[in-house]
């Protein structure tokens, strides 16, 4: 389990990095590497070049203002999770991050990297979708913003071009009075979830995003569905599949249980917000 050979670039500036990426169609960006390196070591991926962005200045910033949370491409999960500002402005980010792998992985892995790895079994892609966030991408051709809805185009596939680097992700602030919750059921603590759910309840709007239920990050609008019927309503939009850890029927059961739990918890969070201390 050793990676195949690759060319390696460690640029000192973003333009340099974009240049390198543009010059090699089979290049990959290396940030935290917590998903990429195992794929390389198992030789399930063998890019011709790695563009290591860990030396780029300014990309580790976490900027929080009233509009939301902007997370730079080199901000590690652990730093985002530790930020009290992030938790205050968009608590769903913090709640979901606590479920990302183990602490040691969060020390190296980046939130933006996880978002553009686009694994439907990961937490951060669905959180971005659920809160209607976006990613800022750059290439030699310029920069653009991709809304979460336009980002995920297939299993482990985003709409980023091969020469684009996601430089930051933006999570809009939670609306005043809104509430969120996130919960997962995994075989072992820290594993990819058998099923995970995050909820945002804002007035009459009830939206739930799912982890490990579909092959792309999936959000279901459950506004107007009575408590007690949320799970079945969600399943009308989802087709949970079998894998070696769970049958489709069991996964559907977890959707029922978790949907109800996270929506109730998010509602409870709403009411607590209505009485600010």
């Amino acid at each position: 389990m050793k990676p195949a050979p690759f060319d390696y670039r460690r640029p000192g500036s973003l333009p340099e990095a974009l240049e390198a990426l543009a010059g090699e169609p089979n290049a990959k960006v290396l940030a935290g590497g917590q998903s990429l390196v195992p794929l390389l070591s198992m030789r399930l991926a063998a890019p011709a070049m790695l563009v290591d962005i860990n030396g780029l200045p300014g990309l580790a910033d976490i900027t929080v203002d009233a509009s939301g949370v902007r997370i730079g491409a080199l901000a590690r999960h652990a730093d985002v999770l530790a930020s009290a500002d992030v938790r205050r402005v968009q608590p769903l980010v913090s709640e979901a991050l606590a479920h990302v792998a183990h602490a040691t992985i969060r020390n190296r892995g980046t939130t933006v990297g996880s978002i553009v790895h686009a694994d439907a079994a990961a937490e951060m892609p669905v959180v971005l979708s659920l809160v209607g966030g976006s990613v800022e991408v750059a290439s030699v051709r310029g920069t653009r913003t991709i809304a979460a809805d336009d980002l995920y185009v297939g299993p482990l596939e985003t709409s980023l071009a091969h020469d684009e680097i996601a430089t930051s992700a933006f999570f809009p602030a939670l609306a005043p009075g809104a509430g969120v919750a996130f919960e997962e059921i995994a075989r072992r603590h820290g594993d990819y979830a058998l099923c995970g759910g995050g909820a945002v309840v804002d007035g009459d709007s009830v939206r739930v995003g799912y982890v490990s239920v579909a092959d792309v990050p999936t959000v279901v609008d459950l506004s107007g569905v009575p408590l007690g019927e949320l799970g079945e309503a969600a399943l009308a939009h989802l087709e949970p599949a079998d894998d070696i850890h769970a049958t489709a029927a069991y996964r559907a059961q977890l959707v029922r249980v978790l949907t109800e739990r996270v929506v109730r918890a998010a509602m409870a969070a709403t009411s607590s917000k209505e009485n600010p201390a």
């Binding site: 390696y8 460690r10 390389l40 290591d52 652990a78 040691t104 992985i105 190296r108």
Partner: protein, 167 residues
């Protein structure tokens, strides 16, 4: 085809080492085979077991999920660096010895580095926090019972030492 070698300066346990490695050399392999610091062990090479955990700028990270070329600007601490300068055991090491926190010893370096950083961040962990601290490391021998005790003991040793220092 000759694979390109990169000049890399790795700072490990306070000592700078200059090595020439291909880009694909994993940090774990560079530590073990280029620097002969074999205390860091490799158990799975896909980031799950934690045996290879080292401190990178004080934070626990999987050395099997990093490339040596990517560790140039970092201060790395391995298990060898946890021993006191006079050769005596550091507090976490001492606690493991006292509590029988290891059997075959293969996973142990990853636990020691992880706990060292964990207690730096949280010097007075509760019992549940002690369990949490080691939740990302696999051990096949001990059933974790005595490792949890060792975390608690290490915290106690450190607290006693800091009281002594202040006195």
């Amino acid at each position: 085809m000759t694979e390109e070698l990169h000049d890399v300066r790795l700072t490990v346990n306070g000592v700078a080492h200059d090595v020439q490695v291909p880009a694909r050399r994993l940090l774990s392999d560079a530590l073990r085979h280029d620097l002969a610091l074999t205390g860091t062990h490799v158990g799975c090479e896909h980031g799950v077991c934690g045996a290879c955990t080292v401190l990178v700028d004080g934070r626990p990270m999987r050395s099997c999920l990093m490339f040596a070329v990517s560790a140039v600007d970092a201060e790395i601490t391995t298990v060898e660096g946890l021993t006191e300068p006079d050769g005596s055991l550091g507090p976490v090491q001492q606690a493991f010895a006292e509590c029988h926190g290891l059997q075959c010893g293969f996973c142990t370096p990853g636990f020691l580095t992880t706990i060292t950083a964990g207690l730096r961040e949280n010097p007075r962990p509760t019992h549940d926090e002690c369990r949490d601290m080691i939740a990302g490391n696999l051990c096949r021998c001990t059933g974790y019972q005595n490792i949890v005790k060792a975390v608690e003991r290490a915290a106690a040793i450190q607290q006693a030492a800091s009281v002594e220092e202040r006195a």
